[in-house]
């Protein structure tokens, strides 16, 4: 889709401003129902689009993303723009600088339409924990879009953005992509700079795109990855343009199916869509092998120890002193506090929602004296074992294939009282974050429930920094749809 729009812009069949206007009109028409956006930046978008049109009028060459309207999750800082991370505690926070990812988008000439809704601080699998609004799944408005990047997924699925950025700590790009029927890419840990991304769990967080096609995801990645001195985990760019690898040819590639992922508990309908997808890969000439990732069953408990531990540390900065809301802001709203400790206690009690408090306290507990060895240290050791599972698996196969999630989109409220049930949504996705490997969710079929066809995503994982094989394989699958 991006390439087609790019050609139209280049050949003057359309203009960046009319493109921006058509997306803004779509948002005005649809978003009151869907709720994908927390903020629409119409004026800025028009201004940027006009600048691109001027460039085209002057006969300058434009890049692939130039003039293409996209959206960003509201946990990425944009200078002079309110950035809430879906939380009340950042209700009045205006970012004083651009995140590196925003700077890269600007340099690439992309048009940023607005900031999208998300679970508070990216903690959730349904976007229901946003302090601001509900986001509906365009495939069935009675259901959640997944999470935590639910707004970005819904915006792309409903034609309210060509692409959108999300962040993925344990599946927050891939699971909503699966629920909404779009492509969602979590690049290798270290591919894309997180400077200016409001941190959740720093050893797991990664930024990536939602798009309608695999090629579009490749283009957005090409325009946004590389070394950033402000995020020392980033790797030097290898100069690759990922869209150049999409040959459609995957003959001879070895795809592993982890037997641990297809346990007896898996929904039969998900299994049957998955089995069909496996056959499609086989018919494309890939070699399918059953493999073992022996420590898979421990991935979820390990994730729910490591992630909250990092959360408790990262979210200590929201203290009512330096930024964000405070019970001591001098307003009529709060009684104020007498001591510094009370400022902390009351600000954080008022400003954070349930799920955030839960995870902060869980992490505080697993890091606290007497429990550190039993929980955090142990989890780190098991995380190593999980990484080794992947090192071993990738000796045998080029890719690992599974469903993205064990289910299709669920109804609002369905998991509100079922904490572990909500956490289980991440069962197939957290391993890629723990191991740091790149992973993609792409539409692999649908499942019929109550007369509605609900999208189901397939997940491919590849070797560290091997996004080209990952994208080539997902693209080959997508091409069989045509």
């Amino acid at each position: 889709m991006i390439r087609t729009l790019h050609e139209q812009l280049k050949n003057k069949e359309t203009t960046a401003i009319s493109l921006a206007e058509s997306y803004l009109a779509r948002i005005a028409e649809r978003d009151p129902e869907i709720g994908a956006y927390l903020m629409v930046l119409g004026d800025e978008a028009r201004k940027e689009a006009a600048r691109v049109d001027l460039k085209i009028a002057h006969g300058e060459t434009i890049g692939l993303l130039e003039g293409i309207p996209g959206a960003v999750k509201d946990n990425m800082c944009m200078e002079g723009t309110r950035t809430t991370a879906g939380s009340k505690i950042l209700d009045n926070y205006v970012a004083p600088y651009d995140a590196t990812i925003i700077r890269r988008l600007r340099e690439a000439g992309a048009i940023i339409l607005g900031k999208t809704n998300m679970d508070e601080f990216a903690m959730g699998s349904s976007t229901e924990s946003s302090a601001y609004r509900q986001t509906k799944n365009p495939a069935d408005p009675e259901r959640v879009p997944g999470g935590s990047s639910g707004g970005s997924a819904a915006a792309v699925a409903d034609g309210m953005a060509v692409f959108a950025l999300g962040s993925d700590t344990g599946g927050s790009i891939r699971q909503p992509a699966s629920f909404c029927g779009v492509v969602g890419l979590k690049p290798t840990y270290g591919r894309v700079s997180r400077y200016g991304l409001i941190a959740m769990a720093s050893s797991l967080d990664q930024i990536g795109p939602f798009t309608t096609t695999v090629e579009d995801a490749a283009i957005v990645l090409s325009e946004t990855y590389g070394y950033d001195p402000m995020d020392v985990t980033t790797a030097e760019s290898d100069g690759k343009r990922f869209e150049d690898f999409l040959s459609g040819d995957i003959r001879g590639l070895k795809i592993g199916i982890p037997k641990e992922y297809l346990s007896d508990g898996l929904d039969e309908r998900v299994r049957s869509v998955f089995t069909e997808a496996v056959e499609r890969f086989r018919s494309l000439g890939a070699e399918i092998r059953e493999i073992s990732l022996p420590h898979s069953k421990y991935a979820l408990p390990v994730y729910y120890i490591i992630m909250p531990s990092e959360v408790s540390s990262n979210l200590a900065r929201f203290d009512g002193i330096r930024f964000g809301m405070s019970v001591n802001d001098g307003s009529e709203r709060f009684a104020g506090s007498d001591t510094l400790l009370e400022t902390y206690l009351d600000t954080r009690d008022y400003g954070f929602g349930d799920e955030v408090k839960r995870r902060i306290m869980l992490g505080t507990y697993t890091l606290s004296a007497g429990y550190y060895d039993a929980y955090y240290k142990k989890a780190q050791k098991v995380r190593d074992l999980i990484r080794h599972d992947f090192v071993d698996a990738f000796q045998e196969v080029d890719l690992v294939f599974s469903p993205t999630a064990p289910e299709a989109a669920f109804r609002f409220g369905a998991k509100q009282d079922d904490l572990i049930g909500m956490y289980l949504s991440d069962i197939y996705t957290v391993t890629a974050n723990l191991a740091g490997v790149p992973a993609i969710s792409f539409p692999m079929g649908t499942l019929n429930e109550d007369g509605k066809d609900l999208p189901l995503g397939g997940q491919l994982m590849a070797r560290w920094f091997d996004e080209e094989t990952l994208l080539r394989t997902a693209d080959a699958f997508e091409k069989t749809n045509q």
Binding site: F323, N328, G330
Partner: protein, 97 residues
């Protein structure tokens, strides 16, 4: 199951002021998640394979030199401070008098 005292202690460490109702709620919820971790106990980690044989970056350090707040202005940062006076961040006293 965590005790009420334990939950209060964790909440204080986490700097989250909880009401009694909330304490009860989180006691139940946190305990249910901790139960979920028991699965890890069956693993023997006496450890034949320590460390990671995968691409890991070396530490990337910069020169120890003051470089201010970079491109971000002091004013822009202070704009977000909830309570300030004469260009300083204002806080409540650490000890009650």
């Amino acid at each position: 199951m965590l005790t009420t005292e334990e939950v209060k202690h964790i909440a204080l460490l986490a700097r989250i002021g909880l009401s009694d109702t909330e304490t009860g709620k989180y006691r139940k919820e946190l305990s249910s998640v901790l139960d979920f971790f028991h699965e890890l106990e069956e693993l023997d980690l006496s450890g034949e394979r320590e460390g990671i044989d995968m691409p890991v970056k070396e530490n990337d350090t910069r020169e120890d030199r003051v470089h201010g707040s970079g491109p971000v202005s002091r004013e822009a940062i202070l704009q977000n401070v909830p309570s300030r006076k004469d260009g300083f961040v204002k806080v409540k006293s650490v000890f009650s008098l």
